[in-house]
């Protein structure tokens, strides 16, 4: 192809061949795994969180949420940080950095006190980390001096960030927990302590399913279960929300963010980039499908950029932010009445059921023909469009202005492809 696009980006001054990184998690905890992911084209990793000692893990430790025939809508994980001690991890990191000098080795670390944070920062920097990510957010630690309990306490976030900054010369990223109403608060504390960037989000505290056989949660660990982190496609909307809020906060607007949360496709990636993320992290889809998911992320992103005339990621990073506005500022002058396309409609009546039971009783089914007809009661909520099983059978139709409002141009969505 003659017109090449550039997927590389300098994140915190570190050149990344593409924005796709593995997030600190079960997918990157030893040499072989990370070597394979680099070979398959990932730009870098955030090495699974290094602590002072290895963890003592439970079995089993995973569960997933299904919806009808689709599994892994969401994923629950009870694993904690690295199972190796920091000395072993330092060796692995050194080897990887030596063998893959152009790949980016972010290293996630987590201490229980200032001394531990300082030691880990020093040693991982010495081992060759290109950047350090501070794990203030793992929701399933067996110690309450670590993980999301820390991330919910701005004073600790600031203090530990400062200690790390004093013990390293590489960029420092604070990884935040979504188990909090305002992530901006601990994020500002991290920035105050010297953090160069924010990673968002870590997993969401969850109980995915109850096991009726043992009357406990899933997974069943000797008859018991625990609250632990939820991830995957189901959390993407929450991750995008946190990302937008960070980028729209005037004090944080210029703080780079590494986006995390349910990224499976290039479209997901573009969504995070449009909301201002400059780096992207992935775990759950790798656990389900393997490192190869990066191939279509890169390929699809390249095609998206080619077709939109973008040559570098910065051409569109943050481009959607001005279009996310407070609810009170939305234009509420009109109703877009849906149009039902008779040639595609299969007469299932689902639109009418949902409209009656969840909307405004505005769809009548014609006797005999079973044809759905939209009546004057329609308020333009588009529940019918959302529930219709036939792609394209219901689309936005005419724009009706509310009484007393002045008609004006309205931007509408035309293509529905899901």
């Amino acid at each position: 192809m003659s017109k090449k696009v550039d997927l590389s980006i300098d994140f915190l001054g570190v050149h990344c061949e593409n924005p796709f990184f593995l997030s600190s998690s079960p997918v990157c905890h030893n040499y072989e795994m990370i070597a394979k992911c680099f070979d398959l084209g990932w730009g870098g990793v955030f090495y699974k969180t290094v602590g002072i000692n290895g963890m003592n893990e439970c079995s089993p430790r995973f569960d997933n949420v299904r919806k009808e025939d689709i599994g892994w809508v969401g994923f629950k994980n009870m694993e904690q940080i690295s199972e190796h001690c920091w000395q072993e991890n330092a060796e692995i990191i050194k080897r990887l950095k030596h063998d893959y000098p152009t790949k980016v080795m972010g290293v996630s670390i987590m201490g229980a006190n200032e001394e531990e944070w300082a030691l880990l920062a020093r040693e991982m920097t010495k081992a060759g980390a290109d950047m350090l990510e501070l794990n203030f957010s793992c929701p399933q630690m067996t110690s309450h001096a670590m993980g999301s309990d820390v991330g919910q306490t701005p004073e600790l976030v600031e203090k530990y960030t400062r200690v790390v900054k004093e013990n390293t010369n590489v960029p420092v990223i604070a990884k935040m927990t979504p188990n909090i109403s305002h992530m901006e608060v601990p994020s500002k504390a991290a920035v105050k302590g010297g953090a160069d960037a924010i990673s968002s989000i870590n997993t969401i505290k969850s109980i995915c399913n109850l096991d009726l056989e043992n009357v406990t949660g899933m997974p069943v660990v000797n008859g018991k279960s625990s609250i632990s982190g939820y991830s995957g496609a189901a959390v993407k909307p929450i991750a995008l929300r946190f990302l937008a809020q960070l980028k729209m906060d005037k004090d944080l607007a210029n703080v780079p963010v590494s986006g995390i949360g349910g990224i499976e496709t290039w479209q997901d990636a573009v969504e995070f980039l449009l909301l201002g993320a400059e780096n992207l992290q992935v775990t759950t889809s790798v656990m389900q499908y393997g490192y190869r998911v990066v191939e279509d992320m890169k390929d699809g992103l390249e095609i998206f950029m080619l077709e939109h005339g973008f040559t570098s990621l910065r051409d569109f990073i943050g481009k959607a932010l001005p279009n996310i506005i407070p609810c009170e500022d939305l234009d509420r002058d009109f109703q877009i009445i849906p149009e039902i396309h008779d040639d595609l409609c299969v007469r299932c009546g689902r639109c009418a059921i949902s409209c009656y039971d969840g909307g405004h009783q505005a769809i009548e089914i014609e006797k005999g023909t079973r044809k759905p007809l939209i009546t004057d009661k329609c308020v333009g909520c588009h529940l019918c469009l959302n529930v219709c099983p036939v792609l394209g059978a219901i689309t936005p139709g005419f724009i009706k202005f509310k009484p007393g409002r002045t008609p004006h141009d309205v931007v509408i969505k035309h293509t529905y492809d899901r």
Partner: protein, 404 residues
């Protein structure tokens, strides 16, 4: 409800998938490790890879993956016998039924039409010129591969439209003009010139060889075979497969009253004759062949398709004679085993018993700067996907000869 499918001539036998339906089918794919489907394409297409691209919503990427490997990717999606190639090995068979790889490939290729960039690009001009005779699958594949290497290629074809057997030998319900045109556009986008209505006889080859650095003869098997010494073969109403199909295509199915039609032959071409006769308004259509249900060469997909259209199939009978005075009135058939025989009323009899190279190019051999390939070099015709494979190989040989 009628038990017989009504399908007007030229109307598509299968509708394309939209994004939602393609996602449903791609979601059935198990995304296997070392996917077995990816080992079974003669042209080296990698269904495991392009289905994964669809699954991860990289639709145009899927089209690019297919196109980069197979210049006739849209055509192959429609007419490949997937059930005996890629789909045969599908791991999903262990659960229920294989992934519909052909439909997914067709979906991916439909996304190529919306692309705002060209997937394939011509190589840097190397100063060499090659002529390809015939605009069928083999020439198209050779031409595309050479153009990618920077060769200036001209295709010469005697017909009004390019595509050869794709255009004139396969029913448009299975392979539409749109799909053929899409693949041909991928070839011409590479700078390949196609000169139509230009018959090149064997005698013209010398002049061509003087003008071009190499000449490729990819004329295919454009003549129909006939059973030797078949009694009644010269009666009015007796035809052979390719002329019949071409006539129907040119007249868009309006070829007059066929009456009761009997087709002799058990391959895909015979099935295409059967569906075409049916769609052209034949009163009845019967297909008979010497093979059994197990050994008949037609793909199961094609047999199922003609049965749906109401065609009667009689395996393991051989034709003894065509009966009639001036015009055919019946065909006499005898069982391959035992003593059964039958006489079928017939107003039209079509022999679809194989194709051959036209007499003009009979026994043509490669020599120096003259290359011969595709079905023209074979005893028995091959599938389109095999033509793509051999086209790539011939292009390599020509490139080697041209020292590029």
């Amino acid at each position: 409800m009628t038990k017989v499918r009504q399908l007007p001539y030229g109307e598509l036998a299968e509708n394309g998938l939209n994004i939602r339906l393609a996602m449903e089918e791609a979601t059935r794919c198990l995304l296997c490790d070392d996917a077995p489907c990816s080992h079974d394409c003669p042209a080296g297409t990698d269904p495991g890879r392009f289905i994964r691209a669809i699954r991860f919503r990289n639709f145009k990427g899927a089209a690019r993956i297919i196109r980069e490997n197979n210049i006739l990717g849209a055509t192959c999606a429609e007419i490949c016998p997937q059930e005996r190639l890629c789909e045969k090995a599908c791991s999903r068979c262990g659960i229920d039924k294989p992934i519909n790889i052909g439909r997914l490939q067709a979906f991916a290729m439909s996304m190529e039409k919306d692309m705002k960039f060209q997937v394939l690009e011509a190589g840097k001009p190397c100063g060499k010129k090659v002529a390809c005779i015939g605009a069928g699958p083999s020439s198209l594949a050779v031409a595309a591969e050479l153009a990618k290497k920077g060769v200036s290629v001209t295709i010469l074809d005697e017909n009004e439209k390019a595509g050869g057997v794709l255009r004139y030998g396969i029913t448009p319900s299975r392979l539409s003009d749109d799909v053929i045109d899409q693949d041909i556009k991928a070839v011409t986008d590479l700078g390949v010139k196609i000169v139509l209505n230009k018959h090149v006889s064997k005698d013209d080859l010398c002049a061509l060889m003087a003008e071009y650095d190499a000449v490729y003869v990819g004329v295919g098997q454009s003549a129909s075979k006939m059973i030797p010494n078949m009694k009644g073969a010269d009666l009015k109403g007796v035809d052979t497969a390719l002329p019949f199909l071409k006539k129907a295509r040119i007249a868009n199915g309006k070829i007059g009253d066929l009456g009761n039609v009997v087709i002799i032959g058990g391959g895909d071409v015979a099935m295409d004759c059967a569906s075409t006769a049916r769609q052209c308004g034949a009163k009845s259509v019967t297909v008979s062949f010497v093979e059994t249900w197990e050994t008949m060469p037609a793909s199961k997909k094609e047999v199922d398709y003609v049965v749906d259209l109401g065609v009667t199939i009689i395996p393991a009978f051989k034709p003894l004679e065509v009966i009639g005075d001036d015009k055919v009135s019946a065909v006499k058939l005898a069982a391959m085993e035992g003593n059964s025989s039958m006489t079928l009323d017939a107003d039209t009899v079509i022999f679809a018993v194989g194709q051959k190279v036209s007499d003009d190019y009979k026994d043509i051999k490669a020599d120096g700067k003259l290359f011969v390939g595709g079905d023209a070099a074979l005893v028995r015709g091959a599938t389109v996907v095999e033509a793509v494979k051999s086209g790539k190989e011939i292009a390599e040989a020509i490139a080697k000869f041209l020292q590029i």
